[in-house]
């Protein structure tokens, strides 16, 4: 029995991670780089599928080369073009590496690394979102949607790894995964809505001391949820 992550969840997680990154990094150059990296990861998945169906074929090494070439060319083009400001790198860089890590975890390059690579990928995507919030004037709504999508990508990817271990990639798991992803996205939507509603009340006008108190209250709330 193989314990590789299930396909529907893997695809969905990668899509969500890409969406999260694209929401905050939305200049044409950034989108171009993201598409190039996604194409590379997609080629890897296709190569893996072909290699599984026809063991001993030469498609996997060839596609690996093509994928690496595509990703390399895209990155190189961006560097040489030099059209990205440091702030744009700060929001795009972690996201791109995160998408690659997620892809490698779900491929998987190694079954025992899946969980850690998916968590690393999710964390990097979220780091990119936080970076974007720091350096750029993107609207809070974009930021929140990107954060929700990043968390959902991590959650769906983790679920794909878990179901891959419990049910196997050969089993039909799409329904269960869609329900799970639907629940997570719904929760994300509620979170975004509530947070935006709170934001419009106007925490911007609070003093730093007030903000600190609010933060303390949030920490106590979060802690109480876990103890």
């Amino acid at each position: 029995m193989t314990a590789r992550p299930t396909r529907p969840g893997s695809g969905l997680a990668l899509g969500l991670a890409a969406a999260a990154t694209a929401t905050v990094a939305s200049t044409p150059t950034q989108i171009g780089a993201l598409v190039a990296v996604l194409a590379g990861v997609g080629t890897l998945f296709a190569a893996r599928t072909i290699a599984r169906r026809e063991p001993g074929s030469r498609a996997l090494p060839a596609a690996l080369a093509v994928a690496c070439l595509a990703a390399g060319l895209a990155a190189g083009g961006l560097f040489l073009g030099g059209s990205l400001r440091p702030a744009e790198w700060a929001e795009l860089g972690p996201g791109l590496v995160g998408v690659v890590a997620l892809g490698l975890g779900l491929l998987p390059v190694r079954e025992s690394w899946s969980g850690r690579l998916v968590s690393l990928g999710g964390a990097l995507v979220l780091l990119g979102v936080v970076g974007s919030g720091l350096f750029r004037e993107a609207g809070p709504a974009f930021l929140l949607v990107a954060a929700a999508a990043g968390v959902a990508a991590w959650d769906v990817g983790r679920q794909a790894v878990l179901l891959g271990r419990q049910a196997g990639a050969a089993a039909r798991t799409a329904r269960s995964e869609l329900v799970h992803a639907g629940g997570t996205l719904l929760m994300g939507g509620v979170g975004v809505g509530v947070t935006l509603a709170l934001a419009t009340i106007g925490i911007g006008g609070l003093s730093l001391a007030g903000l600190l108190l609010l933060l303390l209250a949030a920490v106590v709330l979060v802690a109480s949820l876990y103890w």
């Binding site: 029995m1 299930t6 979220l126 979102v129 936080v130 919030g133 720091l134 809070p140 930021l143 929140l144 954060a147 929700a148 968390v151 959650d155 983790r158 679920q159 878990l162 179901l163 419990q166 049910a167 196997g168 050969a170 089993a171 039909r172 798991t173 329904r175 269960s176 995964e177 329900v179 799970h180 629940g183 997570t184 929760m187 994300g188 509620v190 979170g191 975004v192 509530v194 947070t195 935006l196 709170l198 934001a199 925490i203 911007g204 730093l208 903000l211 600190l212 933060l215 949030a218 920490v219 709330l221 979060v222 802690a223 949820l225 876990y226």
Partner: protein, 425 residues
């Protein structure tokens, strides 16, 4: 999620960027998600149909499983692993399934298994139900008793004869017809002329009858080594003890077919004992007991688990177990009563060697040794284990015990036939 909330909040505070603090709001929402969903309380029923129910050996059997949510709450995330019989092989499809079930809804999936001759019993299906967030997981089992009876059809047996190549039937102590001289008895009118000792009559004038030892078909006791130490084998393959039990099932069926009184015993957490008998009811009961043997259950303590447990607490249990097995050996010795013993053991440790050597003093013993080691995938540890096992076989042969090696991926009759050829040569 808590980490994300704290990181976002700290970054926001340090950079004085309220927008980043909002990210913490989303994180807190997600952190509270598992607490908003109620833990699942699965109430499920399983229906399993097999076609055909009495398959020929290696014939694909289609298994159709239907899982139904009998509760009144939706189960958003249910993973099921059907309880495939321990000695069955899944040949197509997968016994695993994951789905979401509304109240009253059911999910159906099919897969195919193939079995060796014998009685195979499906085990309860294992169900993992999670709530929508995946925060809590409930494990339960659903049972639907199903059996596969793969007959050892007479016409399928030759040319592979599953009976023992060592027909070392014990010469009985009672005298009668036979070939080996037993004693001279008093002549009774009506004794066959050919058996009267005429030389003695010429010498002394007394009539005496030669009596021979009667050749009885000796009862055979099939004994399987189902101790946790025998539950070794490559991952995802049936382990040594399970192969011993499968072989024992086939031997019992084959010997009973030939009208040989056959009994069964297994060494394990407790001694399982079915006294040798020729009656079909007793043989059927014995075969059922083998099919439902606890060593075939998923929860049976294997040696690896016991090693882990022993790491925690000191070796109190470790020391107690061998004494229990020695007690079982003594019981076996007392009940053996001169019957032929066939011991199936993967020979993973020295205990079966000692057992066979000890018991061979009181009864003829044959050891059938399934190979539990996957020589291709095994590292240095596997090679060492293989050498140790070869040494054990050599020691047994040196002690005058017949050993039949049962290779991995070999059917038992083939192993017996191979050994029979080796003897004839």
């Amino acid at each position: 999620m808590v980490a994300l909330a704290l990181v976002a909040a700290a970054v926001a505070l340090l950079a004085k960027q309220p927008r980043v603090l909002l990210v913490a709001g989303v994180a807190v929402a997600y952190a509270s998600y598992p607490h908003l969903t109620t833990p699942p309380d699965p109430s499920l029923s399983l229906d399993r149909s097999v076609d055909p129910a009495s398959p020929a050996p290696d014939e694909p059997v289609s298994v159709r499983v239907t899982l139904r949510n009998d509760g009144d709450r939706t189960l958003p995330d249910v993973s099921v692993v059907d309880g495939v019989p321990a000695l069955a092989r899944v040949v197509s499809g997968t016994p695993r399934h994951a789905t979401a079930l509304r109240p009253g809804e059911s999910a159906t999936w099919t897969y195919e298994v193939a079995v060796d001759p014998g009685l195979h019993r499906f085990r309860p299906a294992t169900v993992l139900a999670r709530d929508a967030s995946g925060g809590t997981e409930v494990e339960t089992t659903v049972d639907a008793p199903t059996e596969l009876d793969c007959p050892t059809a007479r016409e399928t047996r030759p040319p592979l004869d599953p009976t023992l190549p060592f027909p070392g039937a014990v010469e009985s102590e009672t005298s009668g017809t036979g070939t080996a001289f037993a004693r001279l008895g008093e002549y009774h009118p009506g004794d066959p002329l050919g058996r009267i000792d005429w030389r003695r009559f010429a010498r002394t004038g007394d009539l005496a009858t030669v009596e021979f030892r009667e050749r009885h078909q000796a009862a055979v006791l099939v004994c399987a080594d189902a101790r946790p130490a025998a539950c070794r084998g490559p991952p995802d393959r049936i382990h040594g003890a399970a192969r011993c039990l499968s072989g024992a099932g086939r031997l019992v069926a084959a010997l009973a077919d030939r009208d040989v009184p056959v009994g069964f015993a297994s060494l394990g957490p407790s001694l399982c004992w079915h006294r040798p008998s020729r009656s079909p009811a007793a043989v059927a009961a014995t075969r059922c007991a083998i099919a439902a043997h606890p060593a075939l259950d998923a929860g049976y303590p294997t040696d690896e688990q016991r090693d882990e447990a022993a790491d925690g607490d000191e070796d109190g249990e470790q020391a107690a177990a061998p004494r229990e097995f020695e007690r079982q050996r003594e019981q076996l010795r007392a009940r053996l009563d001169g019957r032929q013993l066939v011991l199936l053991s993967p020979l993973c440790d020295d205990f079966p060697v000692e057992t066979a050597a000890t018991l061979s003093a009181v009864a003829p013993v044959t050891v059938i040794a399934p190979d539990p080691i996957d020589s291709d995938g095994a590292g240095a540890g596997g090679r060492l284990a293989a050498v140790e096992r070869t040494n054990r076989i050599a020691r047994l042969r040196g002690a005058g015990v017949d050993v039949i090696e049962w290779e991995r991926d070999e059917a038992l009759p083939a192993a017996l036939a191979r050994s029979r050829e080796g003897l004839a040569r």
